[in-house]
Amino acid sequence: MMQSHQRFDTVLIANRGEIALRVVRACREMGLKAVVVCSEADRDSAYARSADQSICIGPSTVSKSYLNQNAILLAARLTGAGAVHPGYGFLSENTRFSAAVEAAGLTFIGPDANAIATMGDKIAAKSAMVAAGVPCVPGPDTELASEPQAIRKTAADIGYPVIVKAAGGGGGRGMRVVLDEAELLQAVALTREEARKAFGTPALYMEKFLQHPRHIEIQVLCDTHGNAVWLGHRDCSMQRRHQKVVEEAPAPGISDVLIGPVGAACVKACKQIGYRGVGTFEFLYEDGAFYFIEMNTRLQVEHPVTEETSGVDIVQQQLRVAQGETLSMEQGNVTCIGHAIECRINAEDPATFMPSAGVITALELPEGEGVRVDTHVEAGYKVSPYYDSLIAKLIVHGRDRTDAMQRMRAALASFKLEGIATNLPLLRELFEDAAFAEGETDIHYLEKWLKTRGAA
């Protein structure tokens, strides 16, 4: 395993917006200098200027700025940065970038290229998880056979309903749910033909189909000395088109006895693959069972809910691990207290979900005990059409879920933002929903709720 232990005093942040500012804050608290790279669209933003140094690396188009690996590495060289923090999105899970940063003699604040590559390959990741005892979706981690008899046996072993997926597919394409044996062979033949046409390979695989799962995830933190802990769990089931809208920690209604062994298995998997830094194991959860879907090898948007409940500053920990420090905590010291909820505030129409761009003419952020807002915007900020619509994260922490829900309602009510459309009205309405308030809604709930209220 590649280990980069060199100390650094300057961190280049290869990202933008709220997460760039979040990393600047962590650097400042640790006495490190922060350099922010930006595109032409972001060069005059207050958040970019708040860093010790900011450097414009290219035009607004992401391919020429935030995804331009050479320009970022060059900026690191020009500014004397010793480490690169990729944030989330953009180049954060790019094996070539992680390797290029290390090859340039700099520290990549994240896992090494091998770990990113292993977890980016669905079959390899599943094999690694099975080896560590992490529960996976039932189904062989090999390509589906072509003989009818073998296909029938695989489905029968898994148990109906099953889902047939293109091995080269993704984003919800190239998959078909099969409810019983009568429709099995035709479904396989159709999916195989689609896979051949759409993805260039007819390879398929088959898994158990979960009908009403929740999205539960486990946050891990690992150093380069073989130590690893998990920092509790989150529920991110409130999604629209695979985009998370609300996240909370802990996942409601899941006992420590049930999830404890899963967390321990995640830690074991990290140690087995020599993982370093922060990471998230994502699971589907249905009828009391967890099914691993993928590991995210980066800091996640929703990390603040875990920070609020565990009391651990995850970004500072990333920086410490990258400096070669040993984790300052053991699993026995990790205690999660209360309940935290995060709402993603997006610049988008609350009814049509079309992105909105323009100038924020007025902004009043909610304040008070247990309220945190992570944002890079201010009154006068121009929301650019070039990037993700996330403009703020509103996080509340309460003594329990009921308390946190109430705090969120109050915080949403006092959040004032004018000039552009946001999803604030939608979130305010969602937090009045009885089933959501009850908790444990599944990943399809939000889309069904949107249909019944006549939107989207």
Binding site: R43, C56, P59, S63, N68, A71, L74, L78
Partner: protein, 137 residues
């Protein structure tokens, strides 16, 4: 190692693509046996903008050259003492040190350098103004 043939269309195409991707508007390679000059055609929103304002008093305003990429600005070639950048029309008005490469910055046609806007050795970003020119007569 054999030297690449600078007249090879494939090499020229790759270099041009790399320049475009990096937002650089040109490169000049000179060696004893061959030399090559590539200039990337500028679009309306191209990386280098030697602009003058569209307002009526545009002629009275100085034109500005902006940095085509992030780099260290030098008004003259830092490896050659006394080799100062020219200030005559269309000539090089400075250099951008980008790693091991020294990128010349051209003044553009009919432009006379009024002053540099950044100190020698300053790290400039893409689009930062680096030199100001006399308005066209």
């Amino acid at each position: 190692m054999t030297k690449p043939d600078l007249s090879d269309p494939a090499i020229i195409e790759r270099l041009a693509a790399a320049l475009e991707a990096a937002g650089v508007d040109g490169i000049e390679i000179t060696r004893p046996d061959q030399s090559l000059l590539i200039r990337v055609a500028k679009s309306a929103n191209g990386p280098v903008r030697q602009f003058s304002s569209g307002k009526p008093d545009a002629a009275a305003r100085p034109a500005v050259v902006k940095s085509p990429m992030a780099g260290e600005f030098w008004p003259s070639d830092p490896s050659r003492s006394g080799a100062s950048a020219s200030s005559t029309a269309g000539d090089t008005v400075g250099f951008l040190r980008v790693g091991p490469i020294l990128l010349p910055i051209a003044a553009g046609p009919s432009k006379r350098l009024r002053r540099h806007l950044v100190e020698p050795g300053t790290v400039v970003g893409f689009g930062d103004p680096i030199a100001e020119f006399e308005p066209e007569a």
